[in-house]
Structures are given as C-alpha cells and as structure tokens.
C-alpha cells in the first residue's frame, strides 16, 4: 500500500505502520517522491532525504520491536524557523544564510524522540513576519488550490505558508508551524487543513528562532483534527530551557475526541462581524454555528469589546519584541556579514550587514519596534499597547467566567488571494489578514482553524474555535465535532 501512502492521515499511517502493512521506509519514499514532484509549490526550502531515510529505518526497527509511539515512522515537514542540528535553519532570511545550528529545538527533539521522520525544512515568511509567504528569501510558496477555471497562483497564507502548502498537497503527512498573530491558523484556513495554536506556554519555544517572544507559540498543521491531537501531544510539555513553558501534565488529546459537546456553551462574539465582511464568510459562520447547535451545544451571543484594538496593539507589541530579538543578527556570531569597505568600523559592519540581510518587511518592523521603544515614546505606544492587551485578555476572561466553553469565529476575512495582488497595498492592509486570529495570541489562548467549506471560487474557507487556557483537549473535541459535521473532504486538483 506504499503507492499513494503520502496521502494518508497521520492516524491512518500510524495504524498501518503498527500492523506492518506499510513500512516507514516505503512511506517516507512515497513522501520524498511527492516532495520532489511538488517543487512547483516551492514549499520545501531545504530537503533532507538522507536524514529522512535514516530516521525511517530506525523507525521500522522500533516498530518491529513493538510499542512504538504514535509518530514513529511518520514523515513530517519542519518549518524553517525551527533549529535543526546540522541542517540549514534560516527563518527564510538572507541574514541566516549558511547557518547550521549546533543544537536541536526542543520541539523537533521531542518529535524525533517519538520516532518522527524529517523530510526537510519548509518555506515561510522571513522571521515569520508576513501573511502571504511573500517575504521569504526563498521566494513565494504557492497554494495547491486555484480558483475554478483560473490558473492564477495563490498564496498559501503566512507565515507558515510552506507548511500549509506541503500538508494540503500531500507532500508530507503533517508539519510544524508557528503562530505569533495567526501564522498557523490563517494558512491552514487558506489551504483547507487544520492548524492549532496552543495556549502560550504549552509548547517550548527553545530553539525556535524568536520573533515576538510573548506571542510566539508552535503548533501542528495537519489534515485532520485527530492528527492534530497526535502531533500536539508529542510537541507539548514542560521544558526547563524555556522559562515560560508551563509545568503542566500533557493530557491524552486523542482520547478527548469523544464527539460529544452536548451541554457545552459556544460564544459568538458580535465584534467579529466586521464591516464589509464578505457574505460567504458570514454564511459560513452561521452554518458553523448551526452545526454546533445541532450537536447539542448551547449558542450564546457574547461581547469582546476591545476586539478592534487588537491589531493596533499587536503591531506595537510584536515589532517592539522583534526589534529586541533581532538585535542579535549583527554579523558577528552567525549568518551573513557584509563585505566592508576600507576604513569601515564595527558600526558600518552592523548597519551594512543588517541592511543586506533583512528584507523590507523585517526592516520595517524592526524600525517600528525601535521607534515605539525609544525614549519619549515608550509610554505613549508600548505601555499603552500592553494596557490594551490586558483589556483584550480581560474580555475573554469575562466570557469564560460567564460560562462560555469555546468561541466560534471566522478564521480569515477572505479566501486565499493571488500572489502579488497585495504588492502595492499599504502594509496595514496586509496586516488586516490577522484580524480574527491576533486577539488569541494577545490573550495567550488556544485557537484552532478547521476547514468547513468552499467559496464560490472553489477555495477553502475555515472557521476558528477559541478555547480556555490549557483546555486544548476540550477545544480539539469541539473542533472534531465541527470537522465531522462539516465533512470537508475536498482536495486541490493536482496541477503541480
């Protein structure tokens, strides 16, 4: 059954591997073949077939011995933001060209310890700053989906665009992503897959190249909700090397998928009904609400009054943290160093290195962050944004205290747009892509995008469920109910 094995879900592949109906090497070969045939998607930035096959052989030995973990022999793609020992890890930035970490991120170390196989590193927006994968030094990743009767290349979303594209196109069984303002959920919605951002602190950030440390959180991007439970279980857990990682037990997320949400309360936040929201998004949201109601949940209207201030608060806080985190790229310890002219000193080295190494969007955000943190503006911008952030979190706290179990919203304000279509837009217009997702990062909550339908152009649309802190198990069960009710099974017709 190895032909077409790359199209399996993680759960189905696990079962087949355990029954020895399929070998990890054959499964990996099927994915490597699909990966090579998928170059038109530009999803993989660095391929690691030798590592993959060595890991697959080790997985087969472990499977033969019995009692192998869920992910044993499962081929994954890894976002380029994760440091992987000896393998290029450059956050899709020229400033990290040639960087090969001497260490392994906690997340990838845990995945490999569980027997997972790494096919390669996935394309993304530079330093995870972007919503379309168009800021990458590797070029644009491409969405496997196209509008009906139109071969315009579409964005897979961003920043985890390569992850989304690779999973949707069956180049790998699942992938890792990271989400600072929506970078797992928006690309998942644009490509018809599942993506969960866990509670801040659930997954270790150690060895993940930092963007905005108080917002960054890694999570899985998968074909199904069940697959998300398997990946998240292996990625999560306390790590002494990340002081913000939570010392809490990791539940059996898969066991939480009972499919029963009777008596649960779902909040529908009125502030997410944006002016000018496409009718199709509105209809999808109503449809999703009805599906959860049919499953026995109670639907209540709720108010999250500070929602409209989430994006401006985010675009103060995230660049401020980024300007600090990205100060380390100075051309001294790793990565790119500019060629210097006669007489250039260390300041010229910094300035030329960073001008050459960082792309336009990264430069813009570093400079905005520098400005809002500079003397005289710190209180007016940065401290005010942190106060607004506290109010945004309080909105959610109040909703949950009033008995809400999960909140249902659209995942994105549109379906996937064309690559280049936003090229002449104001930077702020691109930022609006995160309007439904960014609140969740600011409040540190878990959020999941679930594919629910296709729009009139034939493109996938997703809904987002937001859960209580540390209640990913319950959130995943809600997502599972929505997934089963929606019955989304469409795949992008293969053109690549």
């Amino acid at each position: 059954m190895s032909a077409g094995a790359n199209t399996l879900t993680v759960a189905a592949a696990r079962d087949a591997l355990r029954k020895r109906e399929l070998s990890a090497v054959d499964l990996t070969m099927a994915c490597l073949t699909a990966m090579d045939a998928g170059d038109g998607l530009n999803a993989f930035a660095h391929k690691t077939p030798e590592i993959a096959l060595a890991q697959a052989r080790a997985a087969d030995a472990r499977l033969a011995a019995g009692a192998a973990p869920d992910l044993c022999g499962i081929p994954l793609g890894i976002k380029d933001l994760f440091c992987t020992r000896g393998v290029a890890s450059q956050a899709a930035s020229n400033i990290l060209r040639g960087f090969r970490p001497e260490y392994e991120s906690t997340v990838t170390a845990q995945l490999f310890a569980a027997g997972a196989v790494m096919l390669g590193k996935l394309n993304m927006d530079e330093f995870a700053m972007g919503s379309s994968n168009e800021t990458s030094c590797y070029g644009d990743a491409v969405n496997p989906w196209r509008r009906a009767g139109d071969d315009t290349a579409l964005t897979p979303g961003g920043s985890s665009g390569g992850s989304a594209s690779a999973v949707a196109a069956d180049l790998c069984l699942a992938a890792t992503g990271t989400d600072t303002g929506g970078s797992i959920r928006q690309p998942a919605a644009f490509t018809g897959i599942v993506g969960i951002k866990p509670t801040y602190g659930r997954v270790s950030r150690w060895g993940i190249i930092a963007f905005a440390s108080s917002l960054d959180q890694a999570g899985p991007m998968t074909k199904t909700v069940r697959d998300a439970t398997l990946l998240l279980g292996a990625m999560a857990g306390h790590d002494p090397k990340d002081s913000t990682s939570a010392d809490l037990p990791v539940p059996d997320f898969e066991a939480a998928l009972t499919g029963d949400i009777r008596g649960k309360t779902i909040g529908i936040p009125r502030e997410y009904r944006m002016d000018g929201m496409p009718a199709e998004i509105e209809a999808l949201w109503v449809h999703g609400t009805a599906m959860l109601k049919d499953a026995g949940a109670r639907i209540v209207d709720i108010s999250l009054p500070h929602t409209k201030y989430a994006l401006p608060a985010y675009y103060v806080i995230a660049p401020a943290e980024a300007s600090s985190n990205l100060a380390r790229y100075d051309g001294v310890r790793y990565g790119h160093r500019a060629k210097l002219a006669q007489g250039d000193g260390i300041t010229e080295m910094y300035e030329k290195t960073r001008a050459e190494g960082f792309g336009k969007e990264v430069q813009r955000r570093v400079m905005i962050g520098t400005y809002v943190l500079s003397a005289g503006f710190y209180d007016a911008y940065y401290n005010r944004a942190r106060k607004v952030r506290a109010l945004i979190k309080r909105d959610f706290d109040l909703a949950f205290a009033a008995g809400v179990d999960a909140i249902l919203t659209p995942a994105t304000p549109s379906s996937a747009f064309g690559l280049g279509e936003m090229a002449h837009a104001d930077p702020v217009e691109m930022y609006l892509n995160d309007v439904f997702t960014v609140t969740v990062n600011l409040a540190g909550l878990p959020g999941i995008a679930v594919p629910v339908g296709l729009d009139a152009k034939g493109l996938p649309l997703g809904l987002q469920l937001i859960g209580k802190p540390w209640q990913e198990a319950d959130l995943l069960n809600h997502a599972y109910v929505l997934e089963q009710a929606a019955g989304f099974v469409a795949k992008a017709p293969k053109w690549w």
Binding site: Y309, R333, M349, E351, R364, R384
Partner: protein
C-alpha cells in the same frame, strides 16, 4: 503623529540598519502610516489598567544556579563569519 525624514534617519541609526538617503522619504511615509494605524489605541480608556507583563498568571520557574553546559568553544564558533584563535573576529573597535 507622523515620522519626518530626520526621525526616520534616527530610527534607522538606532536599529543599525543602513538606509540610503534616497529611500528615507518613502520609509518615513510607510512608518507614518503604521503609526497612524496604532493611534487608534488612544481611543481606549486604560485608566487603572496595569500593562500586561505575562499572559499566563504564573511565576517563572527558577532553576538551581549551577553550570549545566560548557566546553563547547568549537560549536559556538562554528557558524561565525570570521573566527580566529578561538575568538569571534570583528573590525578594529579601538585605535
């Protein structure tokens, strides 16, 4: 609040990113647009609200103050653009 060319030049300097003189007006315009977007935050009444310092109300873990790593000079220098005699090398800093 808008960012003029002089401020853009100063921000670029603080950020240690070289920006050509010819590019400063466009940069100032872009930064001003983003700042205008942020100014919506002035509509919010934040009286009595403390700035958020930690999204989850938990105490950061502490660990024993002991050496847990070390003696990896080679690994640390491995990715350096210019490493010599066990050090990172940079252009001359003092005359």
């Amino acid at each position: 609040m808008s960012i003029d060319i002089e401020t853009a030049r100063r921000v670029a300097k603080l950020a240690r990113i070289r920006v050509d003189e010819a590019d400063l007006p466009a940069l100032a315009g872009e930064l001003s647009g983003i700042l205008r977007f942020m100014e919506q935050l002035n509509e919010v009444d934040v009286t009595g609200t403390e700035p958020m310092t930690s999204v989850t109300p938990m105490r950061l873990k502490r660990r024993a103050d002991v050496v847990t790593d070390g003696n990896i000079q080679g690994a640390i220098l491995k990715n350096a653009p210019d490493a010599r005699e066990g050090f990172f090398a940079v252009p001359k800093v003092v005359e």
